[in-house]
Structures are given as structure tokens and as C-alpha cells.
Symmetry: C2
Subunit: 361 residues, 2 copies
């Protein structure tokens, strides 16, 4: 996508040919800056502290993390250690394990001297494959972005969190069909859930839709049910950090509440999912997916820009208030109208997913 007129990916090799440049997503929307990763520790920290986030981008960063590790020490022991370090960063998104297992399995048979070049090549390929998968999700999802409610005006899409190009290497998952529809001349408007506690809707989705010139309106996470009751949402589309073999969708906390409202009001609810986000080993998302719990401070404190333009953290709760902070929830498959993948659109069922990915299921 374009940032100030320049095409960018969220992750890329530096001009030195080995270090890795990522956008520092913690500083958006107030500043657009990049961070240079030069070691597996850097890559692990970037994932853990959410410099990078979004399931596909986490996978791509982890792949480059193994490349950085192998460059320093191509031994089996170092490879396993780097794999473990990166895997421990965040528990919920399955792309992390998928990318790490994929890269390690390809390096294992190689001689030590061949490993670093192969790791870089595979990390680059994972990025290119992600871009292609997201582009294809956009094409397959584009026909779903259509007016389903009476009244004039654009197609109203509601999305939660950020599953745009910032969550992937490029194009995005949930937002790819929106970008594709917009590019095809479909008038579209996006309701952007702010997505507490980290406000990825307000800070990332609003920012990238603004940069792309797509009309959008920020709302609190509480508002979606009211909008759907009043016919102001044509469809909901979200990403997924892990989708089970039967189509349960684990995504940013609060997604489930929007799915319930969509079902209650006859609004289609879509999940846009590259196959790298599908965990073929499990069925029951509520019971089987580990849900990350993060620092309570993300709930009790909010970061933003003050009137002088300085970014500050302010506390919204009384000093002694306890808080809990789960990062994701699971939307059971029966609430999901369809899943949009890089191979097409399918029912959120085991048979639906198997029909598109017979080799994996």
C-alpha cells in the first residue's frame, strides 16, 4: 500500500541485505516510523511488544527471526532455541507456529552453511505468499461487499480491530475485499470499532483507511449492536488469528459480541482467513485455543496525543483497580456466515474448509 505516496510493505529487508525493517505499529497513528531488527531477540521482542501484530505479519516476522538466528549460528541447537524463543512470544495466532515449523523443516536437511541463505529465501517467499493470499482474499471477497439493506448510500461494512494491510505483509485480510471493492468503484463506508484495550481500530484501521481514501467512521466497541438493529450495517468482516478445522474463528476480543449481533439482526458475518491462519489440528475453538492474557495496564491506562502533540499515557480507573485483559475470543462457526480464503469462499464448516484445502485437512 502507499504511505505518503510510496509503496510499502509492513516488513522488508533493509538495504544491507540482511537486517529487517518493520513499521513500528505502537506509534501509529501519531507517528510513522520503522524499526530495524538485527537478531532473533529483536524479532521476538517486536512480536511480544506488538511493534508488529496481526497473525500473518507475526508469522512473517517469525520467519525472518529464524533467518536472523541462523545467520549468527546455523547449528541445530541454535535453530531450536530460536524456534522456541519466537514461539513463546504470543500464544494465540497459529501463523506463528506455522511459519516457524515451515522454515525449520526446510532448514533441517541442509548443511549449516546453506541454512542462512535458505532461511532468508523462505522468509521472503512467506511474505510474497502472504501478499498473494491477501490479494486473492480481496478478489474472492469483493462480491460480498454489496448493499443488502434498504436505503441510499454506500455499502456499510463493520470491522473489528485491524485486519488490514498493517496486520499482514500487504493488502490485509478483512480489509482486502474492501480495498478491492473500492478499487472496482463500489461506494463503500467502513464502521471502525475502536477495539479496546489497545485501540487498533482507532489507531491502525482508521489510519490505513484514511491513507487509502476510503470513507470510514470510528465507533466505540459498544455501538455495533445498535447499528445493526437500525439497518446501518450491510455486512461484518473480520480477520482471524486462528481458525479451527470446523470453522470456529478466534479473533480480537469482542469479535464474538459482534457476531451475535449480526446473527440476531440478519447481517452476514464473514471471516477473512489465509490458510496459514487455519489450525487443522483442532475443532473446538472455545475449549482448545489458548487465549493470551496481557497486562492489566492496557485496560486501566490509555495512550494518546495531548494538545501539544506529545504522546502520553493517562490512567482512566482509580489507582488500585484490578483489571483483566484477555486478547481474543472465539466466535463459534454457526455464527459465521462464510469464510473467505485465498482459494475462495466456503461455509464455516469442516466440509466447507476441507473442500478448499483437501491436502491440508
Amino acid at each position: 500500500m502507499l504511505v505518503a505516496g510510496t509503496p510499502r510493505r509492513t516488513i522488508s529487508l533493509a538495504d544491507d541485505g540482511w537486517s529487517v525493517i518493520v513499521i513500528d505499529q505502537r506509534r501509529l497513528p501519531h507517528a510513522f516510523t520503522t524499526v530495524r531488527l538485527t537478531s532473533v531477540a529483536d524479532a521476538a521482542a517486536a512480536i511480544a511488544d506488538m511493534t508488529v501484530r496481526g497473525a500473518p505479519l507475526i508469522g512473517a516476522t517469525a520467519a525472518y527471526g529464524l533467518a536472523l538466528a541462523t545467520r549468527e549460528d546455523p547449528s541445530d541447537e541454535a535453530l531450536d532455541r530460536a524456534h522456541a524463543t519466537l514461539l513463546a512470544t504470543r500464544p494465540t495466532a497459529v501463523n506463528l507456529r506455522w511459519a516457524l515449523d515451515d522454515v525449520r523443516a526446510r532448514l533441517r536437511p541442509l548443511s549449516p552453511s546453506a541454512r542462512a541463505p535458505a532461511a532468508y529465501a523462505r522468509a521472503a517467499a512467506i511474505c510474497d505468499e502472504d501478499v498473494e493470499a491477501c490479494r486473492a482474499i480481496g478478489e474472492h471477497g469483493r462480491p460480498l461487499v454489496r448493499k443488502l439493506r434498504p436505503g441510499a448510500g454506500p455499502v456499510n461494512v463493520l470491522t473489528h480491530c485491524n485486519a488490514g494491510w498493517l496486520a499482514t505483509v500487504d493488502w490485509g485480510t478483512a480489509l482486502a475485499p474492501v480495498y478491492a471493492a473500492h478499487a472496482a468503484g463500489v461506494p463503500v463506508h467502513v464502521w471502525v470499532d475502536e477495539t479496546r484495550p489497545r485501540n487498533q481500530g482507532a489507531s491502525l484501521t482508521a489510519w490505513e483507511l484514511g491513507a487509502a481514501g476510503i470513507p470510514h467512521t470510528l465507533i466505540v466497541d459498544n455501538a455495533g449492536g445498535h447499528l445493526m438493529q437500525h439497518g446501518l450495517v450491510d455486512l461484518v468482516i473480520v480477520g482471524s488469528d486462528r481458525t479451527t478445522a470446523r470453522g470456529d474463528v478466534c479473533n480480537k476480543i469482542g469479535t464474538y459480541l459482534k457476531a451475535l449481533a449480526a446473527q440476531a439482526n440478519g447481517v452476514p458475518f464473514y471471516a477473512a482467513v489465509p490458510s496459514s491462519s487455519i489450525d487443522w489440528t483442532i475443532d473446538d475453538g472455545v475449549r482448545e485455543i489458548p487465549i493470551e492474557e496481557r497486562d492489566a495496564r492496557e485496560v486501566t491506562h490509555v495512550a494518546g496525543r495531548d494538545e501539544e502533540g506529545r504522546v502520553r499515557v493517562v490512567q482512566i480507573a482509580p489507582g488500585a483497580t484490578a483489571a483483566r485483559n484477555w486478547g481474543f475470543d472465539v466466535t463459534p462457526a454457526p455464527l459465521v456466515t462464510a469464510i473467505v480464503t485465498e482459494r475462495g469462499v466456503c461455509a464455516a464448516t469442516a466440509a466447507g474448509l476441507r473442500g478448499l484445502f483437501s491436502e491440508a485437512a
Copy 2:
């Protein structure tokens, strides 16, 4: 309730015997201060800018607003003007109209000189009646605060926004049964929705539960579905700004999403409603209740205390971001397990409410 050991109501007459003291709820939890209202304009401003909020407290403040108006000018014209000014402050809570109509109807037949004393007396009586209604809601609702899920530990109650004593003259509506259960020795723990955009959960409910010594945990509004899926909520209890004759419940935006999650997970969902919050003239809440829309800045900006203890407003979205800000949503009666009133607990149906309030329905 006690504030730093001193019993307080949210609204009371000043020592001068005529001006009105209210807690400035905009400054909680960071400072406990009061504001003195000396005119109908003061009272209207206090309601409109949310110095006071909560349907019952809005009604009580409006009643005192008419008393302040009548003290200055007891004519019919002034009374009607004050009624109109106060009624225009906020559209959704029906207690406002109820209190204004009640006081005006009592003053109309009186001679001008008798009006101010009568207005003050009636405003004081409305406050006392609200305290008594909330106390009775606490008693009737207390048996509902019980363990319904397996596992050790306290009864887990989830509430949205603030329907505690700060929303009323004393005791609260939704929190009255919690206070009553706690006083009766029932171990209770409250999940407090932060309640964006104005964070009444974080700033008011967490503050008053802390002051009362009731264990509680702050969560983002997105978290309730996840908690209910995992058996961590025994019951949901909320207030209501307007309840229709058939039991549709209009409450702070986001309440509806929690009601959907409660139904999907077999968790009882109660609304605690003094009869002054029931609008007997309408049935269909989604179609008939006017939903207040407030300043978009409440969504794009957040207030809190910085590290030096100063309250600041920070902007969380990109500068040009459009936002919409509806204050309430409607939970249709079929999602409401029961309604707790000052006369007892009833089904959220026309027959249920009529059974308790045959004279009004």
C-alpha cells in the same frame, strides 16, 4: 453511601436551605468534588454536561431545577419555560420527563407564593422516594445474586456502565442488589465493563465499589462474551434509562451486546428499574425511544490522569477521523430474564409489569 466515612447522597440541599449540592461526576475517580446549583440554568447545564447522570439522578436534579426556577419566578410562564429547558437537556432517560411533569402538575393548582415551597418539598420527596425505591430494589434483587455456575469463589456479577448509587440519589439500581447481598454476607465479585466512550464503569462503578469494599475487576466492553463462554459470569445486572411497557430496556450503549451473550450462554440477564424509569406510553423500544447522539470527541479523545496526577485529554484516533457517538441501545424484552422493581421481580413482559403496577399500566 459513605464517602471517606461520611454518609452522602448524590444530591442534597445546601446549608443555605435553597441551593442544591451535587457531586461533580465528571471529575471522578480522580477528584471528589461538589458543585452548587443556584438556578434552573445551572441545573440544566449539570444534566446536559453530565456533572450528574443516571436516569434517577437526572430526574431528581430536574425536580430541584424546577424548584430553583420557581423560587426566582413562580409564574406559569416561568414554570413552563423551566420545564422546557430542563426537558431539552437529554432525550433518552424518561425519569426526566416523569419528574418534570410530576412537579409541574403539583404546582399548577397552587398560588404563586405557595409554589416554591411546594416545589422544594416535592423535589425532596422525589429524592426520598428514589432512595426508598432503590433500597427496595436491593432487597428484591438480593436473592438473584447467587452462584449459578460450577466452581468455587464468589458470585460473579457483570454490570455495564454505572447504575450504582452515583446514578441515583442513593443505593443504585443495578448495584443495589449487589450491595444488599454483600451486606448479607454473600461473597460477591463484580466484573465492571469500562463503558466506552465515557468510561463510567472505570471512573464511577470501580470507584464506588472500591469505596464500598466490594471486590471487582475492570474489563473492556469487549470481554463479556468471552467471560460468559467460559462460565465466569453467574448473572448480568444493569440499569435502565427507559423501560417500555412490554419490557424493552434502553440502557447505556453496549448493554444489548451483553444481553445477546447472556442469552447465548444461559446466563440470567436482569434489569433493575425503578418505576420512574418505565415509559408506559410505548412498547417497541427500538422504534420508539429517541437515542441521544453525543459529541464525536467523546470517541476520539479520552480523559485520564497523567503520571504527574494531572487530568488530561488525549486523542486516540488520527486527527481527521470522523466518529459517531450514540449514547444508548435497546435490549428487546425477550433477552431480559426478569425486571427488578421496587415492588418485586417480574417477567419482562407487558403482563409482568402490569401485574406489579396495575395503577400505571
